[in-house]
């Protein structure tokens, strides 16, 4: 009996994580609290058992995450006894950068991309795990599992190292780093199925519940705190909604849904007719926008 596709994907991810632990001096796992991060963390626990993962978690906090995400993050890190680093771009905080006042592009650049670069430089990490998958977006489909970054954190898509078999070249010079994507070959359905099969804990924002929301430019935005500027006469309404991805709450559109259990969510995901990233404002800017952002250092 040969392995099923999920068993093979799991084994591949574990192999990648161990390779980083064995060869990189100061690795870190980027933890974004979403379902992909949850799976990645679960894989890390498996990869090194009975040891703990030999690296800390890093969360880049834009200060605009759903409150529940932050609670989930802190509870989980304590429960597992893992080191959790939280980085906030204090320059951005001082300037009062936020998605409502500065727009999604500027906010994402300052509070996410710049903040990430700050954190990686500050702690001198030479390898950072990310939960990105190749099925998410066209330019991701061509990115290596071990993706080289210059000392300026830049990705050069035309000058990537060939990556053969499961032999990964982890060698870098001082100041340079690797982004490592152990779940490159997973698809969205694989992620859900694995969460189901392994009983992995995810934030309840993924499940439908009555939540206060307003509608903006076709996106359903949750009023997670009092920082949402309401138009005159605009009132948040309670709706049964859930989130397909988790990010900054003003940039993450909810979908109306009755899915309150994991099988319900998977069913809905399979029957849905729009792709996962559609709920994210960031991908719509330009046709090749993700490729450009990645060259500049976005995960």
């Amino acid at each position: 009996m040969s392995l099923t596709h999920l068993e093979l994907l799991e084994a591949e991810s574990i192999h990648i994580m161990r390779e980083v632990a064995a060869e990189c001096e100061n690795p870190v796992m980027l933890y974004s609290i979403g379902k992909d991060s949850s799976v990645m963390l679960h894989l890390a626990l498996k990869a090194f058992y009975p040891s703990k993962p030999p690296f800390p978690l890093l969360h880049v906090d834009t200060t605009w995450k759903f409150r529940e995400m932050i609670e989930f993050r802190d509870t989980l890190a304590t429960k597992l006894g893992l080191e959790l680093l939280v980085h906030i771009n204090e320059d951005g905080v001082r300037e009062g950068v936020g998605p409502f006042s500065h727009g999604s592009a500027y906010h994402t650049d300052v509070m996410k991309t710049q903040a990430l670069k700050q954190a990686l430089s500050k702690y001198k990490f030479d390898a950072a795990f990310g939960g990105a998958r190749r099925d998410e977006e066209k330019s991701r489909a061509k990115e290596r599992i071990f993706s080289f970054r210059s000392a300026q954190h830049r990705w050069d898509p035309k000058n990537q190292r060939p990556e053969l078999w499961n032999i990964y070249n982890t060698r870098i010079s001082k100041g340079e780093s690797m982004r490592v994507f152990p779940m490159s070959n997973w698809t969205e359905l694989d992620i859900w199925q694995y969460i189901h099969l392994e009983n992995i804990e995810i934030p309840s924002l993924y499940f439908a519940a009555k939540r206060p929301v307003v509608e903006r430019d076709g996106l359903i935005i949750m009023v997670d705190d009092n920082r949402v500027p309401l138009e005159p006469g605009e009132e948040p309404v309670e709706k049964m909604v859930r989130f397909r991805t988790l990010g900054c709450y003003p940039l993450t559109g909810a979908v109306e849904s009755e899915a309150t259990t994991l099988p319900d969510i998977i069913q809905e995901t399979l029957l849905t007719t729009s792709s996962e990233r559609q709920g994210r404002a960031i991908d719509k800017d330009a046709s090749a926008s993700m490729e450009k952002k990645k060259q500049e250092g976005y995960f």
Binding site: T4, H5, L9, K46, A141, P162, L271, T272
Partner: protein
Amino acid sequence: MSHQDNLIAEDILAYLEAQRNKSYLRCLTCGSVDDGKSTLIGRLLFDSKMIYEDQLSALESDSKKSGTQGEKIDLALLVDGLAAEREQGITIDVAYRFFSTDKRKFIIADTPGHIQYTRNMATGASTADLAIILIDARKGVLDQTRRHSYIASLLGIRNIVVAINKMDLVEFSQHKFNEIEEAYRSFADKLNFKEIVCIPMSALDGDNVMNRSERCKWYKGMSLMQHLETVDISPEIAETSFRMPVQWVNRPNLDFRGYSGTIAAGMVKPGDEIIVIPSGKRSVVDKIVIRDGDLYQAEVNESVTITLRDEIDISRGDIICSTDDPAEQSDQFQAHIIWMEEEEMFPGRQYIMKVNNQTVPATVTDLKYKVNVNNFAHEAGKSLALNEVGVCNLSLGKPIPFDPYKKNRHTGAFILIDRQTNATIGAGMLEFSLRRAANVVWQDLEVGKMERASLKHQKPAVLWFTGLSGSGKSTIAALLEKKLFDIGRHTYVLDGDNVRHGLNNDLGFTDADRVENIRRVAETSRLMVEAGLMVLVSFISPFRSERQMARNLLDDGEFIEVFVNTPLEVAEKRDVKGLYKKAREGKIKNFTGIDSPYEQPENAEIIVNTVETTPEQAVEHILAYLDERGYLKSI
């Protein structure tokens, strides 16, 4: 992802249970844009309903803007990912595509077909179980068909689908199809494939892609998808012996010592006897540990942690094997190498090899022949250029455990890494051990380097003078030798000119010959250091990697690089031998500084500036260095 499966809507739990047991197939598509490769992949994604509505509407608008199919949807646009590719209308990298059917999950490595992208195809092939080779029915078997088939075979793919595409443009002619199939099989016989399946197809219209086409009833075989869903690619677990390259030693506390790795062949159970290669130590498997509990057994491709009954010394890079047929070990190999870098590969250069979870220094000692990837002919050559394939002899810094690639794709594969840039510059497949390591036993001589040197009351070393022609290397070396001789040191000068008239009189000035020239000089100077001498080497030696190679042959402190730094203008103005003039007139080719590069040393021990200092001052400077570091004291 509107899977048509009614089960999703009716009984999601039953559906998930069924999904769980899907198998997995990794395939590679090869062909050029003209063959309709991107269209075929787009078709597979489209017809297996992997396209969402928002992606479809984006595709429709893109098709109108930059499509090549008029009013029809251009499926190729779905897969040509990078912006540069969309502009140029070509696929320049490897992209991975995912789709699934009710029976299987698929990863397709989408790779370009032109000869300048051979390395990308090899990359895609390295993880694939099956290759789909596209042929344009109007054109038949071309050079590129042979090339794609050869690379697939070289990387160990055993299952081939020949997609004879664009059948709609030859009116689904059975005669045409048979002709192409026959032509394909006649050359592919040599390539050691397990199975070749030829399918007539129109990717553009979908004929024989998902379902059998009504338009060519004479074809009785399966559609592409029917074949992909049923082809048997399961690993031969029972017939192969267990081995697991150790990736990480798992030591959470003093009471637990486990060895983590991905199983590369066979299966393992607690109680199995094992042997560790290269140490040869034996033990018995105690437990197979995973987070969910201990396993009764584990098999190829699983990532596990194994504990043993005995405490034996095992490190990353060792292979734990079953005792019946363990891996071999050697430090001398014959191997196939695919070169992946602009800068050519030269025999004599030293690279870093990553193989079985460890990195070792590796030198290509001989390029036996190059393989013409279009017609499989063996050709003589002195170097391997980007995208060329060659059969080489390799010598490693230490013995490694391995299997021949034909026996195991995991334990017989390696990559080569550049020492300076850290780029992956080559990939290779180990064929067999040259067994020289086993035969050459170093004589344990009672008189060694230290004894010889001490008789001469000196510390042996190489002073390696590098710099442009006319920079003053030989003048300074000769003066220095005189001074050292005067104070009773035993020396010898190896000079570019005198060596080229004797030892190296068979070498010219091409890059390959320059590398060999330096290799011989480096080896000669090493022997002289063994003899206890102070060796003064005066060679232009323009390439960093050759100087590094010479340095690596010697022990720490024995190699002193002296950079005679004279700007080109100055050296050319001096032109003691009249060579620059001839080079400028085109009478001498490959002249360093004129039409061949000089790579300056980055970490030379001594730098001599001949514009501001006289040769005598330079010699004083070098003597001071030697004195300070104890080279002139008796030992």
